[in-house]
Symmetry: C2
Subunit: 334 residues, 2 copies
Amino acid sequence: MTIQQVLRETAKAVDPIMLRYLSRGVGRDFRPIVTHQVRAGGKRVRPALTLLCCQACGGRLRDALLPAAVFELIHNYSLIMDDIIDHGELRRGRPTVRAEYGDTQALLAGMFYREVIGEMAVSLPISRKIYALVVNAVKQTIEGERMDILFEQDGRGEDYIAKHRYKTVTPELYFKVIMKKTAELIKAACLAGAVAAHAGKSQFKAISTYGEKVGLAFQVIDDFLDIFGQETGKQRGKDILEHKLNNAVIVYALPKMASQERSRLMRIIRAERVDEARLRQAITLLESTGAKVKVQMLAKRLVEDAKKSLEALPETPARESLAELADFIAARLY
Amino acid sequence: MTIQQVLRETAKAVDPIMLRYLSRGVGRDFRPIVTHQVRAGGKRVRPALTLLCCQACGGRLRDALLPAAVFELIHNYSLIMDDIIDHGELRRGRPTVRAEYGDTQALLAGMFYREVIGEMAVSLPISRKIYALVVNAVKQTIEGERMDILFEQDGRGEDYIAKHRYKTVTPELYFKVIMKKTAELIKAACLAGAVAAHAGKSQFKAISTYGEKVGLAFQVIDDFLDIFGQETGKQRGKDILEHKLNNAVIVYALPKMASQERSRLMRIIRAERVDEARLRQAITLLESTGAKVKVQMLAKRLVEDAKKSLEALPETPARESLAELADFIAARLY
């Protein structure tokens, strides 16, 4: 199977589970609101990772289906809440939950997701281990989102953020934040597969490393595409427009810049409105530092490390697919 | 022990548990935000109910401490989220989490509460039963809050609410909504005590009825005090100022009013701004219908029903305290 087929099959297996649990005990009027986010689709990378990691550790696909749905639902939960926080209007070309139904309904829908996630997790025979993964992943994601917001340079009209925001970002801090905001959940999705397979210690370790490296690569590449991407379907330079300092390209470009250029870039990032010309100027400034190649290499190394960790697992089609999935993520770089 | 002493002792036992769990694995900067809501205090009625119901069913106090903390934390979780939804500024004379730290931090703090609630619940030996109570209570509270908002007559600037709001409310619908938004959580707090005590079927049933009736009485009395209360520490007529139709006094007054008076009242409830004179006029209109006595009697009957259900339990000091707690709630009526 190609990775595209794996992802399609994953959606076919996991989407009905999510929709079934989301529809349980929900009022008739609330149902379209609650199912909106899941019905909007998505790549389903996280549940594919759970299913493949389970099989790569010798487990049965069917034992990983519910855990896979749990982790995709956590991802969707965080998207609903993030869109409230960021006033997000569109996702995959469709209105977000808050854009369609308003902030109040979106918040209540998000809270409802968290109940369903718990219901699914505790219904498993391996519930305690899965639940520990769930709680840790969500806590880390919350803390990551929190830190990420504090790297915004405008303060979004909230005193607390204006007062507490970070004015600089180092590579160490950058990796700490993306580990929390993105990689921990992806790692947990992988580990849930290992738990479902009752994997041994060495397999568990291999999956843990794989998940972490893939998760970090995922965010680094997202950052890269935000600045240099073509035809991604997203607004180019969104991080700059949203005044965010916490993007891999910016993190690696800033120390390479002469103080005059750095000031010019920071003025654009801090500006209330950035027109197309200024945005292009910022991207040119960033490119001139060599940060583009630096970040490409960084992402490539993370993907190679992820694939290398798979060597501790037996040679199976699932292991092969995990390696291909890592390559698939890296392929967006070129 | 007087009820005041019971509540004080409950706070002394339960607050440190909540604060300990809330502080686990939380970043240094996030800690004051996360602990703000719990440190603001509260009557601690819900955990007192858990502890007393456990003891009234022959259980040990110490087995109910963690479940008690869980249900008080759920209450605090719902307060944080409600304040975001209602733009609440003050609670017990102190700034709400969102007023102190902004909506973004408050939302992330609320989400963090939900993780801690889950962590506590699954750490219990009786976790599956307690967790089922938690999920059901939160789901019902969400749906109740959702319905409650749809009884607001202004639409709060959200299209969805303006389009879907209810324009009338019957006693049946009123009780359905307050069962969900208030009584389900109070009932669950009581049942958690019974679960911790490994109560038998008949005890379980008695506690269930007690919790439901006390929960309903609690909200009916809150509604009563909102309109007729003196020195409650809250703004009088808050529900009218917030354009809410879903208040027991209004529900019972409306059908008793001549159509002219009803229109006058509805105009005030729907008005964007209500000055002191108009608010007093609305309260006088409501009082003239006899709804005051009607609601008092209703609350009193609920409290009597709650106390009656306790007869199925053995005579113990804990049972005595549960009866006193019901009276304590009713005493606010006079």
